[in-house]
Each structure stands twice: as C-alpha cells, then as structure tokens.
Amino acid sequence: MIVLSDYLILSAIVFCIGLAGIFINRTNIIMLLMCVELILAAVNTNFIAFSYFGSDIAGQIFVFFILTVAAAEVAIGLAILTLVYRNRGSIDVDVTNSLKG
C-alpha cells in the first residue's frame, strides 16, 4: 500500500537530485534551466499527492498554474540565453560577468 509519505520522500529525493544538478552544472545555463524543470516536477508531485490523499482539487489547480508559469519562465529564459550567446559567443555563466564590480 502506497501512502502519502512515499510520494513525499520520492519527490524530496528528486528535488535534491535537481539541487545537486544545479551545483554540478553550475556553468551551463541550459543545464541550470533543465534542473529547475526537474525540481518543479518534483514539487508538483508533492502538490498532486496532497491533492489525492487529501481529496482536495485545489492542489491540482495550483499545479496547473505552476506549469503555466514554468512554461513562461522557460520561454523567457531561453530567449535571454540566445541573447547571451549572440553577444558573448558562449553560454558559460562565468563569461556573463559584466555587472561584476
């Protein structure tokens, strides 16, 4: 029998894998965006598990809005990425340091 805490532990594990991915792939902006997507998938699993076990549809509606915001975030993030590549010739995070004091 699968209970709520199984889903919570699963999403905690995947959340931390995504967190470690941000540390590991710190220099590649595309990998950072994909790790954020992984983290969002884990968090959405939490919401849906609570929605299922608590019999409340509000969690699923919240996931719906998270998906919308994440899609907008990816679109703008990739646009910024393309601009960075066009101006700098690289998507390395360390290259984009012109605001550094």
Partner: protein, 204 residues
C-alpha cells in the same frame, strides 16, 4: 503487494534514475532526453494519483513544446563542451554533500510519523465514470477564474518578452538616430515652394 504499488516503485525508479542520469550527463542533448524520460515517468505517477488531466498536459505541453524548445536552442547554439567538461567536477562534492544532507533531513522528518500523515489522510475512492477533467474545470472556471485570467495575461507577457528579446534589430525595425536628429537644420526638413493656384489647376 498490490499492482499499483509495483507500478509506483517501477515509475519511481525510472524517475530517480533518469533524474540522476540527467544531472550527471555531460552531453546536453542526452540530458534533455533523460529529462523527457523523467517527465514521462512523473506523468505516469500523476496518473496513479488520478490527476489525468495534468499528466496529459505535462506530456503535451512539456515534452511536446518546452522540451522541443530546449532541444531547438541546444542544437542552434554551438556549445563549447571542453570548458563545460573542465568545470564539471569542481562543485561535485559540494553538490553531493548538500543534497545528501537535505534528503536525509526530509526522509527523517517525513518517516518519523510526527505529522501522522499516513493515517489522517486517505484517498477517496471515486466511481468508474468519475471525470477528473470536469472536476478541475468546474473549480478552475468558477473559484479560480481570476487567477486563470492572470495566467493568460502572464503568457501574453511571456510571448511579448521573448519576441522582443530575440528579435533582430538591424534593418528590420525602425530605430532612432539621435545624433542625426539633434544636428538637423530647418533647411533639411522644410522646403518652401512658390506656386500659384492657377498654375496648379492648369497642370491638372
């Protein structure tokens, strides 16, 4: 063991395995493919949780649109793999330490039974003809109609922002030349022509 429990463990294994392979993959294309696999497995988990609409939406919107956009950008940009590879192992120990600490904290808290989550909450069994989509739509278009419209505005903003950012400026768009505007003389703009009305009638 129930069949749904076996399914949960299989999909959880796929989810964790593809997530690990994604974050450790040095090839960005392979990482995107593993992210697609993890989206499919998490959608299967959502189906087990009776969130059918969101599972299908995740496949259609995320795999069908967002990941294709990712792959498009990855193939369009020429990423220098050597610099990425050199810095790959630099932060690996820190990342592993932080994630192991966070995982152990969360597992300890969740499995200690402090919140009595597993006993206080249980799923409600629905009839076979129960529709998740109509339930979701009923709430979305009544209780949450203003957030829904705000989400639409947000998507419009995202469209405008993305197009404005990536749109190439040279040649295609009208742009101010400020030096030329400041240094303009009256003679450049106004031309005085002497003509009489009768002559212009004749010319017609």
């Amino acid at each position: 063991m129930e069949f749904t429990s076996i399914l949960f463990y299989v999909f959880a294994l796929y989810f964790i395995g593809s997530a690990v392979l994604m974050v450790t993959s040095r090839n960005t294309i392979k990482a995107a493919m593993f992210l697609i696999l993890s989206f499919f497995s998490v959608a299967s988990l959502w189906l087990l949780l009776e969130a059918e609409f969101l599972a299908i939406t995740l496949i259609l919107v995320y795999v069908g649109a967002v990941m294709v956009l990712f792959l498009f950008v990855i193939k369009m940009l020429d990423i220098d793999k050597s610099t990425v590879r050199a810095k790959f192992t630099k932060y690996l120990p820190l990342g592993i330490v932080v994630s192991v600490v966070v995982i152990s904290q969360m597992v300890l808290v969740l499995s200690a039974g402090q919140f009595d989550l597993d006993n206080s909450m249980g799923p409600v069994r629905h009839a076979a003809d129960f529709s998740n989509i109509s339930q979701l739509a009923n709430d979305l278009y009544t209780l949450y109609v203003y957030p829904f419209e705000l989400a639409a505005v947000l998507l419009l903003t995202a469209i405008i922002a993305a197009i404005t950012l990536v749109h190439r400026k040279e040649g295609r768009s009208k742009k101010q030349n400020i030096a030329e505007q400041i240094s303009v003389q009256a003679a450049d703009r106004v031309r005085l022509v002497s003509s009489s009305p009768s002559k212009s009638k004749e010319s017609k």
